[in-house]
Symmetry: D2
Subunit: 134 residues, 4 copies
Amino acid sequence: MDTPRPQIRHEVQLRHRDVDQLGHVNQAVYHELLEEVRAAFVRESLPDLPFTGYVLARSELDYRSEVRIEDGYVVGEAYVGRIGRSSITVENRLCKPDGTVAVEGRAILVAWDEENRRSRVLTEDERRRLSPGS
Amino acid sequence: MDTPRPQIRHEVQLRHRDVDQLGHVNQAVYHELLEEVRAAFVRESLPDLPFTGYVLARSELDYRSEVRIEDGYVVGEAYVGRIGRSSITVENRLCKPDGTVAVEGRAILVAWDEENRRSRVLTEDERRRLSPGS
Amino acid sequence: MDTPRPQIRHEVQLRHRDVDQLGHVNQAVYHELLEEVRAAFVRESLPDLPFTGYVLARSELDYRSEVRIEDGYVVGEAYVGRIGRSSITVENRLCKPDGTVAVEGRAILVAWDEENRRSRVLTEDERRRLSPGS
Amino acid sequence: MDTPRPQIRHEVQLRHRDVDQLGHVNQAVYHELLEEVRAAFVRESLPDLPFTGYVLARSELDYRSEVRIEDGYVVGEAYVGRIGRSSITVENRLCKPDGTVAVEGRAILVAWDEENRRSRVLTEDERRRLSPGS
């Protein structure tokens, strides 16, 4: 049986401004919404981490189903998929209120040393808090 | 005869993201575009002013004519309408490539002392550079 | 004693994307947030009105106090200030969770006849629903 | 020797609004900027295609180097990497004025039948115009 891993479920309100000429949430906006989900995830899993503790190195996103303003909000989900030496892969997606997946993908976050402006090795504390069973 | 006053003409490219469900540039976006015009104006009129030299205290905007993505860009115009003790009023507008006024209004900018985080009196140099005939 | 008039109180979540280089919510974003408040107001006061029933003709906004991402959300308030022949003035503002006013101002909305693409006279039903005591 | 394939080089102006609290262009904004580059590419390669001819099905993006407002603009490049039965892969990136790569990745666009709201097979004309040597 799988040990449960740290994850989050976070609702994000939609705004009229999110919708483009085609009448659905614009493709770039999903990245803005996922940023909220990941921020909530990091805030909860690593409450002591400074704001600049990670930088985004890569994103992959599959667009599954369009979202409309009438949907009102989306439900974001995120969990750590893989822990590297100085990076983590966050699996994340946004669902509509009825449960349909709108977009799903992953983000690779690199642990960041703001002072020296370069990547850093994950601390043991981070590694433990982000691992299954924590 | 009027002494010419410092003014600017600055083109801003439109983006598909600027357009909302109604097929025209969204009302909030004009404030984003006018920010570019005012930034260009301040950069040109007061090249030595630090980035945080002014803060926006009030905006008024009349929406005259809708802009569509096919317009490609808008032409921003700005000039100083009134110089107060610690604030300036910038008259600004955006026109379509064919010259039609899209939006027009004004912004009141307060001279800002970033260190003490409060308004400051305009310097003589600022006052001179922003006045007609300069 | 004043007859109570239709009004709304509507919370809007903040996003990291709302914040600019100065570390506070960007000036243009308030117009995006107020659009949500006015949409909620119209949806509640005039539930049968089509989406394109009004267009924004003018906005005035005073910037009172900066908002930061740590504030989490803002509380929007809106009510009808004046009812004209073919337009209404909506008084609207955004407050921080602690009650401090962030921005306040008004929007003039023109009743719109989408088919003929021009302003229209307010209906008696609209006028009644938007008036004090309704 | 490789036959040259259709490609584009398209400049996009930056805006102060593109920059976030960390002082660099926000991660979601790159997707907004790349949308402009792909739109320019499709407009040039397939001038007769209706606006809704393709929908975005997937994006992959590597964040290489941060962009600041002082950079002024980015240079977008795009070309077709692979042509499928009903989709094309567009390789795209954004560079800073000095040539440094800011972001690079790809977008999978699915040919779209707006009337029946489902994917469609690429026409022979599309296929020819998007192929090397055209």
